[in-house]
Amino acid sequence: MSSLTPAKIDNIVLDTLSPPPRRYWGIVALLFTGAFIGLCCWIWQIFVGIGVGGQNNPVAWGTYLINFVFWVGIAHSGTLISAILYLFRAGWRNPIARAAETMTVFAVCTAGLFPLIHLGRVWLVYFMLPYPNQRNLWPNFTSPLMFDVVAISTYLTVSALFWYTGMVPDLATIRDRAEGIRKKIYTVLSLGWTGRFEQWRHYIRGYLFFAALATPLVISVHSVVSWDFGLGIVPGWHSTIFAPYFVAGAIHSGLAMVLTLMIPLRKIFHYEELITTEVLENVAKTIILTGLIVAYAYAFEVFIAWYSFNPVEQEMFRWRIFGDYGLEFWIMTTCNCVVPLFFFFRKIRTDLRYLMTISVLINVGMWYERFVIIVGGPAHDFIPHAWGLYSPTFIELGIMFGTFCMFFLLFILFVKHMPSVSMTEMKEALHTGEDDA
């Protein structure tokens, strides 16, 4: 940090906005093709009907809802890093906050697609909105599915506004160094920000309220997502531990995704001086904490089943561990609980290769966690006659692949056209750091 100056910070970040090499556009084209394949699969499903997906009785919720919960979870760490750590004045958040917020916004957009895809007749989505109509059809606000609509829409709006508000002073910095049409675009985007201290006075106050309101939102949104399951009566779902367990899991997966995105970003854009190994190490340390909470939740679920003395619940968990989806359960447990423990070793958490490998494994494990929960419950509920297995079809896998491509496409387009590290916060931290020293 000591060799950094405001001018150097500007130069490092502004260099990332220079015209990209051909291979960048090659990657963009590949990701666009992937996203287009997903779109084609969705269009096919709209024409043929929801039956082209593997979801059926008894498993009515498959990869669409798995991916919905997965992406909402990924989104959470962005807000954790940008809002909660801001309130705690954790200086190490500054270099990664912008990219994490970007991840949040795009992850919520991706998550928001899945209920629409799962709906089948997507043009009827307006049934979820409360508006006067002659059929007197109103949304049921005692349903967790309606809580979800309200919570996710709120989360998307708040994350997007928080992200944009934080970016305005940086857009002004780019505007002042750009020329031609780019200058005009950034002038509009920066809203004519001049950095007058009268503006800063209101801005820092407003930003503080943003952070203060976004923090309880993180807790509430994934709690609401968990109640989609927890308020049902299906064995394996009906649990009071779901809200904290889902929130911890969400942050666990989100932090892993932050590492997955930050490590290549740091290498490609030569951000080594800004995103230092210490910053990545701190993310890894936080992953140890969330990993332990998740491990506790897994163990406690099994304990609750045993302690409840409910044979259906007990059978559900026996089957979850040793049954048809046993492999998925063990992938989940190993990747989410055992693998993060390697971060206890300093050598591992400071080595980028290990950091990257472990973060990818945690992402895989968290996807399987959603699979085990969402598919496992209905596949093996009260009546043995109604038991059945589910596996995703080609169309579902195509849509899933497409949305992953869409997420990464949006992210790489962003980092090349917008400031992916907050210059303002880095400059501010530079001076605060000097004062502390």
Partner: protein, 169 residues
């Protein structure tokens, strides 16, 4: 009435700005505005700002949201007035989730509105007035006003305080 001249002193160091602001206060010239690339608390203290009123917008938004959440839930439930499993039609506990989410949503919208009003953006005229693009990089710009004939003295004042000088026509 004589013409007014706006002179900007550009400083790299925030302590130099604080010192210049102190000297400016004792001088015959009027401080017009201060620009900076980041919110320096030292400079804000030197400018003796009062607390920003943005919080009131947040509060108003939050209260409106909470009431709206309950209102929409109650209104829509009453429209479909059917008791299911003995549960009340107006169910305050589940409705709290809607009220809570809308509290945050409207609180944030209130904050954004408050910021737009208090910071006076979007507004593009200021960029063409007493603004220097270096102020979004690593410089702080202190703009002071003087009569036309005193321009040289004001320029000297900024130079003596360690700043680069820029005069706005």
């Amino acid at each position: 009435m004589p013409d007014r001249r706006y002179v900007m002193g550009l400083f790299r160091d925030e302590d130099a700005v604080v010192s210049a602001l102190g000297s400016l206060r004792k001088s015959p010239w009027n401080l017009h505005r201060v620009h900076g690339p980041y919110p320096s608390h030292k400079i804000m203290d030197a400018l003796a700002f009062r607390k920003s009123p943005v919080g009131w917008f947040t509060l108003a938004g939050g209260i409106t949201g909470f009431l709206s959440g309950y209102a929409i839930s109650i209104y829509s439930s009453v429209q479909w007035n059917l008791i299911v499993s003995g549960k009340p039609v107006i169910a305050p506990i589940p409705f709290f989730v809607v009220g809570y989410e809308l509290t945050i949503l409207f609180g944030i919208l209130g904050t954004v509105l408050g910021l737009l009003i208090t910071t006076r953006v979007p507004e593009f005229k200021s960029l063409k007035q007493y603004y220097d693009p270096r102020c979004s990089g690593e410089h702080f710009g202190v703009v002071a006003v003087c009569d036309e004939g005193k321009q040289g003295e004001l320029e000297r004042f900024f130079a003596e305080n360690g700043g680069e000088v820029r005069v706005f026509e």
